[in-house]
């Protein structure tokens, strides 16, 4: 009898601890889930930066035309792709997919790899014009088969670089 009571109490206690633990676990998972969107998402078209940027040595702004003109680098319009792929490598399966989109007049919905929260106002233009290399934030994209995020893109990371380069660390530079 006594032993049973003991066991019951132990169970109750374990349940309590377990419940707490579970809550913490859920929180931790949520926190991680929230902060980290997939680092290397699968894209609708398997675009290899290795071929374009590394082998063909195309400049980043060849396709991301607005990087030095706008806050956004800009996803290249499909017409840019088709400029070359009308005649080059037309039979590759991924290029066929691309042509399919163009023929159906249906935009490609890429998965975002580098995303900043809404309260951060980042501008590509100022960074590019200040001579920050694209790879400083995007990593060696040219060597990536599938684009992935290699930098943390957290505030501390941004600030560390800003401090090192003597860039402004006024909060209002990014938050407004």
């Amino acid at each position: 009898m006594r032993g049973d009571k003991w066991r019951m109490r132990l169970l109750a206690r374990l349940a309590l601890v377990g419940w707490f633990g579970l809550a913490l676990l859920v929180l931790a998972v949520l926190a991680r889930h929230r902060e980290q969107a997939p680092v290397a998402p699968v894209q609708p078209i398997d675009f290899p930066h290795t071929v374009h940027a590394d082998r063909l040595k195309l400049a980043c702004t060849f396709c991301h035309t607005f990087a030095d003109r706008s806050s956004r680098a800009g996803v290249p319009p499909l017409a840019t792709c088709m400029a070359c792929h009308r005649s080059i490598a037309v039979e590759r399966p991924e290029v066929r997919k691309l042509r399919g989109h163009v023929e159906r007049r249906e935009p490609v919905v890429w998965q975002r790899v580098h995303r900043l929260p809404d309260h951060v106002h980042f501008t590509h233009k100022r960074h590019v014009r200040a001579g920050v290399d694209c790879s400083a934030c995007h990593g060696a994209v040219a060597k990536m088969e599938r684009t992935k995020r290699v930098r943390p893109l957290t505030m501390g990371w941004c600030v560390t670089c800003h401090r090192a380069r003597g860039a402004p660390t006024d909060c209002a530079t990014c938050h407004r």
């Binding site: 809550a23 949520l30 929230r34 003109r69 319009p77 106002h121 938050h175």
Partner: protein
């Protein structure tokens, strides 16, 4: 506590945390590619400006919209526009709400058994054409009634009505200025509303015309006001029965009894006719009603001294101008007032100069209530077939006694064209939704020789058409050969009118000025004399009376759907949401009414129950209701001019004993001697700051603002601009009643001057020694290197301490996560962060605009120029009262104004050293 409770409790806490972790903004993990590159000049993520014309009221001010990622996010005035000169009023600022309003009509609707159902355009056209045929067959006449229409559409409407065999009624406007037009036709053969140049007059006497609120072109008059304000020796008298914003801004407001305007003018004319520039024929003078000074004084309720001073002021002046309109001509005796004012203008030499008949305001097609009465008769007699009502709300404006809504049933098919359900559209059988002016092509000619462009900035949000397209389509379907769509029609029209260069400028600037020839303006003395001979001055109204005033926020009621205009309080009463009646303090005491007590107003069979707001400075016996707040027009029409009666006798007042919650935003109507707007005569000496610590420096920029109180008319355009620019949430009546309005910029009226009011715009003062900053535990509020007091939203944890420590109380806490009903969310300016519940927010001096200007300057490798950064409030201000700039640049406008003798800071004695300097109306010793 038992274990279960304990677990339950914890579940709540952890659960809360988990849920809040998910409630962040939607993941934006998708990037959608363009198919083809955007057109040249369009850079994704950068702003683009589209010039055009505001269509919120008939004034036709220039308005450009800023596009961000294809969506218009902000409206601004077009610089150098002949009508508005860069300003935009509160309604213009709010006009984007009309575009994005969730309750806009989204497709054609057909009434079936009391309910509306959506139909296709094809069906709508087919039904109209069938009904037209049927009407033709039965000998009924089909009628087209439109709101004021100018420019190409007016021409097209004429053509189309002829082609479709429709009777085109004179256009309907409540503020039709019919008395003025009739008087001018009688006197000078010009049935027009002249273009008044009040800035040219050194002595200005306005009678009833609410220049700064709704009178013809309020933004233009506000700019003229600003032009006058700078010059010495100018004086402005304004006489009106109630207390309007215009009266509040005049140098001297003369409260006169309504209906006594002809008495006053007749006396003035007699008094001034001799010394005038142009003498009137003796016969005309002789025909003038014999009004002596004492008779005028007793009729108007003004003292003889005041009248003499007015007359002396006008006769002394180089360029005197007497201007009447609005309430003074809207009533029995309105025509007499307009006639006498016209004669005064003539004899004082204003006609042809400050009363300009060359570039007249274009009211050519506008009729009056009399036309509506005629229509009502036609409907009653069963003569009407199909009735079209476009962009007008006759049911709302026709006198209740006419039972216009009921008579509408006399038409065989009622077709309404509009963008929102209003009193009229609800009575229609077929409702055709019109595109917004930012979704369609068009042009307007608000003033002769000024053509404003209407140009689509965005594809139609809903299944709507422009009126031109509807007319052309009806003609096409009835078998006529018509040229393509309205856009092509317009382009053809424009190409015919303008050369390529003009066309280019038309599209780039949004307006074009065409040469106009001056018509001969000659006094028809015989006509005038005849009129005067037949004139019998009726006795003025007896109190208590009701004054139905136009509203600066909602014009004649057409801007009612725009909720932003409800969030911005009425400038004089600071009531935001809901309807009220303004009464004088004397009447309130007499009737034992406290604010928010309900009062029943009745005149004849009409009655309305409204909560009371005590309006300081209002004469006893006068109750004021804004036209848009009444459910129907209680008065009638002046049988001679057809203007709606603006002041109504025989008012009975009755206290109901109930109370209504009325959101009055001002905590007090007095500044309690706190020197927020200092009395120049008693202004204390400068406050010197003493500190143990060195002052912080801002070597690069130190942004500052100067606000000229002599120019501020309290119109609220700055507040509206701020709302739209900064995504300030519109909260609704419930939160306003609890004191939770979110406006970053507000206009405070203080009634400390006897009989008058002073306005002061209050916004974050960006104090050099900001009390809000050190109390923030997490550095969410701090001072940035450019002298701005920055609030970092995502760092804020919501202690609200900063708000308490702000002596100006300009910080706003997000009590909720404010929702933007679709598609209003399109209007959000993406240059700013979204604020969610629990964050403090406040004026940023439009930091996004500062950034944009610095970015541009950096691109060109030069410093930011003075005037390059314009905050939204400064941009919108019709009088240019707000000046923004860099204090470090000693030659900047703001730096010069800060050094001015008139400059002061609010609560300087607290040592906060605001970066906002106000300029007093008068300098010490003057006045």
């Amino acid at each position: 506590m038992d274990r279960r409770t304990f677990l339950h409790m914890l579940g709540l806490v952890t659960g809360t945390a988990a849920l809040s972790a998910c409630s962040s903004e939607k993941e934006q993990n998708r990037l959608i590619s363009y198919l083809v590159p955007p057109e040249e000049g369009v850079i994704p993520g950068e702003a683009l400006w589209h010039p055009g014309t505001c269509t919120e009221c008939p004034a036709g001010c220039g308005m450009q919209v800023r596009l961000r990622d294809r969506w218009p996010v902000k409206a601004e005035g077009v610089p150098d526009h002949p009508v508005s000169a860069g300003g935009l009023c509160v309604r213009g600022q709010a006009s984007l709400w009309r575009l994005y309003h969730p309750q806009r009509l989204k497709g054609p609707l057909l009434r079936e058994g009391g309910e509306f159902r959506a139909i296709s355009w094809d069906e709508a056209y087919a039904r109209i054409l069938a009904a037209l045929d049927e009407a033709r067959g039965t000998g009924r006449r089909s009628i087209y009634l439109a709101g004021r229409t100018t420019g190409s559409l007016a021409a097209l409407l004429g053509e189309s009505c002829a082609a479709l065999e429709l009777e085109r009624l004179p256009e309907f406007e409540l503020f039709c200025h019919a008395a003025l037009r009739q008087a001018n036709a009688l006197l000078f053969g010009q049935g027009e509303v002249p273009h008044y140049r009040t800035d040219q007059a050194d002595a200005l006497f306005t009678l009833g015309a609410d220049l700064l609120e709704t009178f013809v072109t309020p933004v233009d008059f506000a700019r003229q006001f600003a032009n006058r304000a700078g010059r010495p020796g100018r004086r402005w008298w304004h006489a009106e029965p109630h207390f309007s914003l215009t009266g509040a801004n005049a140098d001297l407001r003369l409260p006169l009894r309504p209906g006594s305007e002809p008495h006053l003018l007749a006396w003035l004319l007699r008094r001034l006719a001799d010394g005038g520039r142009r003498s009137l024929p003796a016969a005309t003078v002789a025909a003038l009603p014999d009004v002596t000074l004492s008779a005028a004084a007793s009729a108007t309720g003004l003292s003889p001294g005041e009248l003499e001073e007015l007359a002396a002021g006008l006769s002394r002046a180089q360029e005197p101008l007497v201007l009447t309109g609005g309430g003074a001509t809207g009533g029995e005796g309105g025509l007499a007032a307009a006639m006498l004012a016209g004669l005064l203008q003539w004899t004082l030499g204003a006609t042809g100069k400050s009363v300009d008949f060359t570039r007249t305001e274009n009211y050519a097609g506008v009729g009056s209530l009399l036309d509506l009465e005629r229509l009502a008769g036609q409907l009653e007699r069963g003569e009407a077939g199909v009735l079209f009502v476009a962009r007008a709300n006759p049911v709302f404006h026709a006198p209740v006694a006419w039972n216009f809504a009921g008579r509408l049933r006399g038409a065989t098919l009622r077709v309404g064209l509009g963008d929102f359900f209003d009193e009229t559209l609800r009575e229609m059988d077929l409702v055709l939704p019109l595109s917004h002016s930012l979704e369609s092509w068009g042009d307007v000619e608000p003033r002769r020789g000024v053509r404003g462009l209407i140009r689509p900035a965005v594809l139609p949000l809903h299944d709507t058409r422009s009126e031109g397209d509807i007319l052309l389509e009806l003609r096409r379907r009835s078998g006529a050969a018509v040229p393509g769509n309205y856009q092509e029609h317009l382009f053809g029209e424009w190409r015919r009118r303008y050369d390529t260069h003009t066309l280019r400028s038309f599209v780039d600037r949004g307006f074009v000025e065409e040469p106009v020839t001056a018509p001969p303006v000659v006094l028809n003395a015989r006509g005038a004399t005849a009129f005067l001979r037949g004139l019998r001055l009726s006795p003025p109204s007896e109190p208590p009376m009701l004054v139905v005033a136009p509203s600066i926020r909602r014009f004649d009621g057409r801007s009612r759907p725009l909720q932003l205009l409800e969030d911005i309080p009425d400038p004089l009463t600071t009531v935001s949401y809901g309807a009220w009646v303004s009464i004088s303090a004397t009447d309130a005491a007499l009737l034992r009414l406290a604010e928010s007590d309900e009062l029943r107003l009745s005149i004849g069979h009409w009655s309305a129950v409204l909560p009371v707001k005590v309006q300081p400075g209002l004469p006893a016996g006068v109750c004021v209701v804004q036209r848009d707040l009444l459910e129907a027009n209680p008065g009638g029409a002046d049988p001679r001019t057809g203007e709606a009666l603006c002041h109504l006798d025989g008012l009975r007042l009755e206290k109901t004993g109930k109370r209504v919650d009325l959101p009055v935003l001002a905590g007090s109507s007095s500044q309690h001697g706190r020197g927020i707007i200092p009395d120049p005569a008693h202004r204390k000496e400068e406050y010197k700051r003493a500190s143990l610590y060195p002052e912080h420096t801002h070597p690069e920029h130190r942004w500052a603002m100067a606000i000229d109180l002599a120019l501020c008319i309290g119109c609220g355009a700055c507040a509206a601009a701020c709302y739209v620019e900064n995504n300030v949430p519109v909260t609704g009546a419930k939160d306003h009643l609890r004191g939770r309005e979110m406006s970053w910029l507000r206009i405070e009226p203080f009634y400390d001057v006897p009989g008058g009011v002073e306005f002061i715009p209050m916004l974050c003062q960006h104090c050099h020694y900001a009390p809000c900053e050190p109390v923030c535990p997490v550095y969410a509020a701090y001072h940035n290197p450019e002298g701005l007091n920055v609030q970092v939203y995502n760092r804020c944890i919501g202690t609200r301490y900063c708000s308490h420590n702000c002596p100006y109380k300009v910080r706003r806490f997000n009590w909720w996560s404010h929702r933007w009903e679709k598609p209003l969310d399109r209007m959000r300016n993406p240059d700013l962060s979204t604020r969610t519940r629990g964050m403090m927010e406040k004026c940023t001096f439009c930091i996004q605009r500062i950034r944009a200007a610095k970015d541009k300057a950096k691109d060109h490798g030069r410093p930011v120029r003075d005037g390059e950064v314009v905050t939204a409030c400064a941009q919108s201000c019709p009088t240019g009262a707000i000046i923004f700039g860099d204090l470090n640049d000693s030659s900047s406008r703001v730096a010069r104004l800060v050094r001015s003798e008139r400059a002061y800071q609010v609560f300087a004695q607290l040592g906060t050293e605001p970066s906002v300097w106000y300029l007093m109306k008068k300098v010490r010793g003057e006045g």
